[in-house]
């Protein structure tokens, strides 16, 4: 087990290195280039040349890359041009927001998708099964941004039930020991703040969770169908165990394996979706932040942000693999 983890961790290195090269080259291929982006709209040729020289942008690429790698490895991701704050501190503030949103979306997706999928498999071939299958395909087919725009228009603008933007009402002063706002509210024992943050999460979480919901539902259904016909389930039934016990102890538990894998694979999709959801709901997370940075040529943010997200993505997948290995002792650790 340990060897498996170490091996997977070692495999991370080339990926992260490759990413850093990719992002590094990409920044330099952007139109305008970093010097122009740094100087902004009032750049003159002389100043551009000056900045290029001062920051070594006129040196050969490998030299520049080495310098970049050294500062990055020392934990310095530079400073945002737009906010003039360090990229690391921005990440520390925004990443928890995105995690909170993603978790809420996953809870929504699993909370509804799992039972739906299970029931669809139980009642295989029934109208419920067909309906939920079509519904899940529809869920995958609705663009997140379209859903988000509609949800916001209906539930906050027209009905006035939920807030339309942001993470917390500005009238609430909440201390942020963790930057996970729900957790902060609990730590501060401020339940009105907790409720407020929760209300801000609902619509974005539904928009972001719609596709995972559909996928979780389908996977659960397929997994339960598969497992149901396995010998040990039949044996359990034959032994006369009550259907409820069989379902909960054997069917669902074994179906958890493929489900956990797909949850891992969804992380990437979730992060993509977060870009759109956060944009529509003006949610101060990491997805909309990087997108804006790309539009504004805020290159330290792009560089640091994408590298960070990618590392997170790879790590999440590693965790999923490990948990998969723990859940399923039959897996071979070797390759």
């Amino acid at each position: 087990m340990l060897r498996f983890v170490v091996r997977r961790l070692l495999l991370l290195a080339p990926i992260v290195l490759g990413l850093s090269i990719l992002v590094f080259l990409w920044i330099r291929a952007l139109p305008g280039g970093p010097a122009e982006a740094l100087l902004g709209e009032r750049a003159t040729q002389a100043r551009i040349a000056d900045v290029r020289h001062r920051y070594g942008l006129d040196k050969p690429l490998p030299v520049q890359y080495w310098a970049y790698l050294r500062t990055t490895l020392s934990g310095d991701l530079g400073q945002s041009i737009a906010s003039r704050r360090s990229v690391t501190s921005e990440i520390a503030q925004r990443f928890p927001a995105t995690i909170e949103l993603a978790l809420a979306a996953m809870i929504f997706a699993i909370g509804i998708g799992l039972p739906l999928g299970f029931l669809a498999a139980k009642w295989y071939g029934s109208w419920f099964d067909h309906l939920s299958l079509v519904g899940s395909l529809l869920g995958i087919s609705i663009p997140i941004f379209f859903l988000a725009v509609i949800l916001k228009y209906v539930f906050s603008v027209k009905l006035g039930l939920l807030p339309s933007i942001g993470q917390i009402s500005v009238l609430i002063d909440l201390k942020h020991p963790t930057n996970f706002y729900l957790l902060d509210a609990v730590i501060e024992w401020d339940w009105s703040a907790f409720w407020d943050v929760l209300k801000h999460l609902i619509l974005p979480a539904i928009a972001l969770g719609s596709i995972p919901l559909a996928i979780v539902m389908r996977i659960t259904r397929a997994a339960v169908l598969d497992v149901q016909n396995e010998d040990y389930v039949r044996t359990a039934r034959a032994k006369g165990l009550s259907p409820l016990v069989v379902d909960s102890r054997h069917v669902l538990r074994n179906a958890m394996l493929p489900i956990s894998t797909i949850i891992g694979l969804q992380t990437g999709l979730l992060l993509s979706g977060a870009v759109l959801t956060e944009t529509v709901f003006q949610y101060p997370g990491i997805g909309s932040w990087i997108t804006n940075a790309i539009f504004n040529r805020d290159y330290p943010v792009i560089q640091g942000g994408i590298l960070f997200l990618a590392v997170v993505f790879v790590l999440v997948n590693l965790l999923v693999d490990i948990s998969y290995a723990i859940l399923n002792p039959r897996i071979r650790y070797g390759r």
Binding site: P31, G32, P34, A35, E36, A37, L38, L39, G40, E41, R42, A43, T44, A46, R47, V51, R54, Y55, G78, Q79, I81, S83, R84, R85, Q93, R94, K152, Y153, S156, V157, G160, P163, S164, I165, G166, Q167, I168, S169, V170, L171, I172, D173, L174, D190, S192, A193, D196, T279, Q282, P284, N292, F295, N296, R297, P300
Partner: protein, 545 residues
């Protein structure tokens, strides 16, 4: 909807505001966070809006106009042919940190700006100082001109004397800029306002002054700032003038136009700036909301870039463009708010120097444009590259995409073959327009900073610029003369003449003067829109529920 807001307000109140109950809180939606709260170092509207509540300048504008009035200076006089100015200062004024306001404080501020060194001399750091006073005591770059400002001396406690290198017509109105607001010397020193470096190539104040301790004399004092979430200012009880009616103002950044409208509709904010024209109806039709419009003090125009090999070098082609732009159609459509007018000159009509008659006009006339083109060096179909900015809304150009589409269609009906190009507003688009790489035609505009035509005509056509790329000494000379002239009657004549020459020469085609609008809850009273967006929140109150 209302219920939600009230719940939100009361739930937060027990922790949030320490202000007495009688004073209410206003939540105002802004397009973005300020950059830094040091007037000398910013040029963006969102920074200036907040700074303007915390700080005051020597000169004020009468609310809702561009007419100058006493601010921290009560009176002023000039001598030496316009080179020496003496200001009598207001007595009994204190900064938020208790420091006394006097001539020494005024001169400390001006001499601080004049003696800026190193990173502070970069144009993105001190744009307005450089725009008005051109240079510094010790210019470190050959791009800078010798400074127009030569020093400030305290003549007694409450009298400050300024020396200029040469007479400067718009000096007094220029001092009304929020960029020249007076800050507490104690706080400037204590919190390292003069510390900055070019870090990773970006001008970065490294002291905490502009982020945590901006200290002025204004009716509000700085409370806290969480980037991306909110910026709070509190009522300053020791203000010398009429004290603020509100206990607290919270500025909340919401980058998207529609999101701001929706936040106003849901009650998450109580007011916001730059209402999009299409949202006027939604606000007017809502019994709980109201719309306030600013007097038009801007101009939108199409640059006709006379680059090497560009068809725009031919006056006939430029005239064809002017006739080929369906300006009236655009301004009368729902893409522009009611109150917008077709621009005939490059400055707003209410500003002195506007030529009331004798200016060449160009009404939409596709047939005439075609005839002109066929007698020019660029026959029908005349190929042009046309740029517009994406994902941005400006006061003079609320929806650039729609402007572009209308102009593209009308130019194509007039014998042009238009190729579309776009870039994001910052940093690409504005950069490309200013350095002359945004095609033959591009959409751009300007909002005035203070009430002087030099701030319009002088900025655009006062000298050669890569943006327009033309050399016309007749235009350059007349505008330079108007800038240094101090006799008002003569200045009016010069600018009227300049407007006529410019509209014959057509370095660009002006197309709109727009009244930008703000949306508020009906309960918000006392907000007085100003042409230059200097709007004191101190006069605002919230009535009823």
């Amino acid at each position: 909807m209302i219920a939600l807001v009230v719940v939100g307000a009361s739930s937060g109140a027990h922790k949030a505001s320490k202000a007495p109950k009688a004073f209410k809180t206003l939540v105002f939606g802004t397009a973005s966070d300020p950059v830094v709260l040091d007037g000398a170092l910013v040029s963006d509207g969102e920074s200036l809006r907040v700074i303007d509540q915390i700080f005051e300048s020597l000169i004020k504008l009468k609310p809702g106009t561009t007419k100058v009035a006493p601010g921290l200076a009560t009176s002023w006089k000039t001598a030496g042919g316009g080179k020496v100015w003496t200001f009598a200062l207001r007595k009994g004024v204190k900064f938020h940190d208790g420091t006394k306001f006097n001539a020494a404080a005024v001169c400390y501020n001006f001499n601080r700006w004049y003696n800026f060194k190193g990173a502070f001399q970069s144009p993105d750091a001190t744009y307005y100082w450089q725009a008005i006073f051109l240079g510094f005591h010790n210019n470190e770059s050959s791009d800078l001109s010798p400074s127009l400002f030569k020093g400030c001396k305290a003549k007694g406690q409450y009298s400050a004397q300024f020396t200029l290198a040469k007479p400067f017509g718009p000096f007094i109105p220029a001092l009304s800029l929020t960029n020249f607001a007076i800050a507490s010397p104690t706080a400037l020193k204590k919190y390292g306002a003069d510390k900055a470096e070019i870090r990773n190539g970006i001008f970065t104040p490294t002291g905490t002054y502009g982020f945590k301790h901006p200290t002025g004399t204004g009716p509000f004092k700085f409370k806290s700032w969480t980037v991306g979430e909110k910026l709070e200012i509190d009522r300053f009880a020791g203000y010398w003038g009429t004290k603020a009616k509100l206990g607290k103002v919270i500025f909340r950044p919401i980058s998207n136009n529609t999101a701001r409208l929706q936040a106003l509709q849901t009650g998450e904010i109580m007011g916001y700036d730059l209402v999009a024209p299409q949202d006027y109806g939604a606000i007017k039709g809502n019994s709980k909301l109201k719309l306030l419009t600013r007097p038009a003090f801007n101009v939108a125009y199409v640059t006709l870039h006379q680059g090497t090999g560009s068809p725009m070098n031919d006056l006939k082609v430029r005239q064809a463009v002017a006739y080929g732009l369906n300006r009236t159609g655009l301004i009368n459509s729902s893409a522009y708010p009611p109150g917008a007018v077709v621009a005939k000159e490059f400055q707003p009509p209410q500003l002195f120097g506007y030529a009331k008659k004798g200016v060449k006009t160009y009404n939409f006339d596709p047939a005439k444009a075609r005839t002109l083109l066929n007698s020019s060096s660029c026959h029908v179909p005349c190929k042009v590259d046309f740029w517009y900015p994406s994902a941005v809304s400006r006061p003079y150009m609320p929806d650039p995409k729609r402007n572009f589409e209308v102009f593209k269609a009308s130019l194509e009906a007039s014998g042009f073959d238009v190729t579309a190009h776009t870039a994001n507003w910052r940093p690409d688009y504005v950069g490309k327009v200013t350095n002359g790489t945004a095609g033959d035609l591009n959409l751009i505009g300007w909002t005035g900073d203070y009430g002087d035509p030099d701030n319009f005509l002088g900025v655009f056509f006062g000298t050669f610029s890569e943006q327009f790329n033309f050399h016309n000494n007749q235009i350059f000379n007349i505008l330079q003369k108007a800038r240094t002239e101090t006799d008002q009657a003569k200045r009016v004549k010069l600018y009227e003449q300049a407007n006529k020459i410019i509209m014959n020469y057509l370095p660009a085609v002006p197309y709109a003067h727009t009244s930008p609008a703000l949306g508020f809850k009906k309960t918000v009273n006392g907000y007085k829109p100003s042409p230059v967006s200097l709007e004191p929140f101190a006069l605002v109150s919230i009535g009823g529920v």
